[in-house]
Amino acid sequence: MGIVSGDPTLERIARGNGLALCATGTWTARFAPLLERMVADAEKLGGKAPNIVIDASRVSKLDTFGAWLIERLRRSLTQGGVETEIAGLSANYSSLIDEVRRVKAEPVAETDRVTITGMLEQIGRSVAGVGGTLIGLIEMLGAVLAAAGHVLIRPRGFRLTSTIHHLEQVCWRAVPIVVLITFLIGCIISQQGIFHFRKFGADIFVVDMLGVLVLREIGVLLVAIMVAGRSGSAYTAELGSMKMREEIDALRTMGFDPIEVLILPRMLALVLALPILAFLGAMAALYGGGLVAWLYGGVDPEAFLLRLRDAISIDHFIVGLIKAPVMAAVIGIVACVEGLAVQGSAESLGQHTTSSVVKGIFFVIVMDGVFAIFFASIGM
């Protein structure tokens, strides 16, 4: 006999009127799958012998996995009415066995099952949650307006540096991508327009379409969607991780209003940024459209500009720009509500950032529809 290293084994040796189970080798995590099978086999020995000794004197290495499996074997044999004891352990290993002996027999079961009623319940809850979402948004709007009023009365509370910082983030840094994308969209609208209008010999009307579409609808809508994806998500992620790290609670305990300190500057930056971006976007789209009309459609720049002046009025331009700050406010409020709703986990941060963008874009499109009806009825 002696200590054996290498693969673990569990030999059965008859001893007197009982049985000895001799454990040898390395009883560690590395061999856990093998050990588990061996122990499961040995557990069936219950009832074959009046008493069983688990002899662990030849185990070369033991860790929690091995110790627990020996203990599990002892327990299940004892439960089967066999007198079982563990023998031959060195002092160190026996204290390890003592450690695992404290483990409760039945581990708590995981209770997470998918059922049809559960799924229906979830659908019901999310439908019922829509009302809650709207109330949350209105609450946030109220809180932001209250904070804005507070700042108007006491202008020293206004955070100019923070506002400028966010303005740089959401406006200045967004210019290249916004201009690029709207430029390309302008090109595409123009190309498609010319391609189809040419069949009727109405090439020049592409300018009318481009002007109205870009200034009234596409310019601002496209930019708002980009801003929701770019800055709305950033706001939600920032506020959400601040919430996770208790930074918002810290602010509150120092006597600051998180709405005033964190949300008002962000909202203001967004409300200022979106009209600027929408204007730049519209110009880029017109430029792109004009370029394509010239190079692809043969409408020279002078004719394009003349036609554009006839086709659009200042109303189209104003309609576009009036929508921009309202859409910015919607995006900002959705983003901030979602940010503050983040719970403790990374998963929740991801969920709320996603829903910030999805809801932001949804509300922007709904608002656009409402505006279309409104402007049509006042004849603009």
């Binding site: 799958p33 996995f65 499996l69 160190n92 483990v103 403790g344």
Partner: protein, 256 residues
């Protein structure tokens, strides 16, 4: 430092780490012997966590050589490296539990990835590990955000121990624990070292831990190990920071 220790589980030679223009570690040498509990102390911001993170490969070094279990980590293949990583466990300062997994899933995660064992054994081992770190099985289905600071530390230790590693890195394990909890923690580390033959690399500021749990203490200062040895060596040292550290008001209170 003293000459080569033959039975070193971690061997760090001439490590230099620099962030921008700040040199955090400057030609540092350190050996950790198999089966010992090494307490690692030094002033805040001296680079204790940086050294830990450099050894485990999270911070790039600009010079030097690190061997763990005799494997040179720079020269190791991906498979060799994974082999080393499977044999160590790390307790991060903030716990670093996966926030979207429950306590049960956090502890079972490394086991599930490395070993093909039944769900039953996974659950039993999880309960055993929770018991070892002094937690009840009832916390198993809670999320990390629903745990107290001390419980997060314990769960994180349970996760670090999930695969029964040979080497554990503990970054300030007892900070944020109440004194009784911290005492239990030291006791636990001792027990684990005795029973599992664990080697422990412990960054700590807890004088109690240094006195009761650590076999050897290494002190970091100016990017180098300024002293290493037993607690008695530390107390005898003439180094001003060490004198202040081991003979200050709090140290006297611990020594009674």
């Amino acid at each position: 430092m003293a000459g080569e220790i033959s039975d070193a589980i971690i061997r760090v030679r001439d490590i230099t780490v620099q962030f921008g223009k700040t040199r955090v570690l400057d030609g540092l040498d350190l050996d950790v012997k198999r089966g010992e509990i090494l307490g690692f102390v030094g002033p805040s911001g001296a680079g204790k966590s940086v050294l830990t993170r450099t050894i485990i490969g999270l911070v790039p070094k600009i010079a030097g050589r690190i061997e763990v279990f005799g494997v040179d980590l720079d020269a190791a293949s991906a498979a060799e490296r994974r082999g080393v990583e499977r044999r160590w466990g790390i307790l991060f300062q903030q716990g670093a539990l996966f926030s979207s997994l429950t306590v049960r899933q956090n502890i079972q995660f490394p086991v599930r990835e490395y070993l093909k064992v039944s769900q039953r054994l996974l659950d039993e081992i999880m309960v055993a590990k929770l018991g070892m770190v002094g937690l009840k099985p009832e916390v198993a289905d809670r999320y990390p955000s629903e745990l107290s600071g001390g419980m997060i530390k314990r769960v994180a230790l349970a996760r670090a121990l999930a695969l029964d590693p040979e080497l554990v890195f503990l970054d300030e394990p007892t900070s944020g624990l109440d004194p009784i909890g911290a005492g239990d923690f030291d006791e636990l580390v001792r027990t684990l070292q005795r029973t599992l033959g664990l080697t422990v690399f412990m960054v700590t500021h807890d004088l109690d831990s240094l006195y009761t749990a650590c076999d050897r203490i290494a002190v970091l200062g100016n990017g180098k190990i300024i002293a290493a040895g037993s607690i008695a060596d530390m107390q005898a040292s003439k180094h001003p920071w060490l004198r202040q550290y081991f003979h200050g008001k709090r140290a006297r209170a611990v020594m009674g």
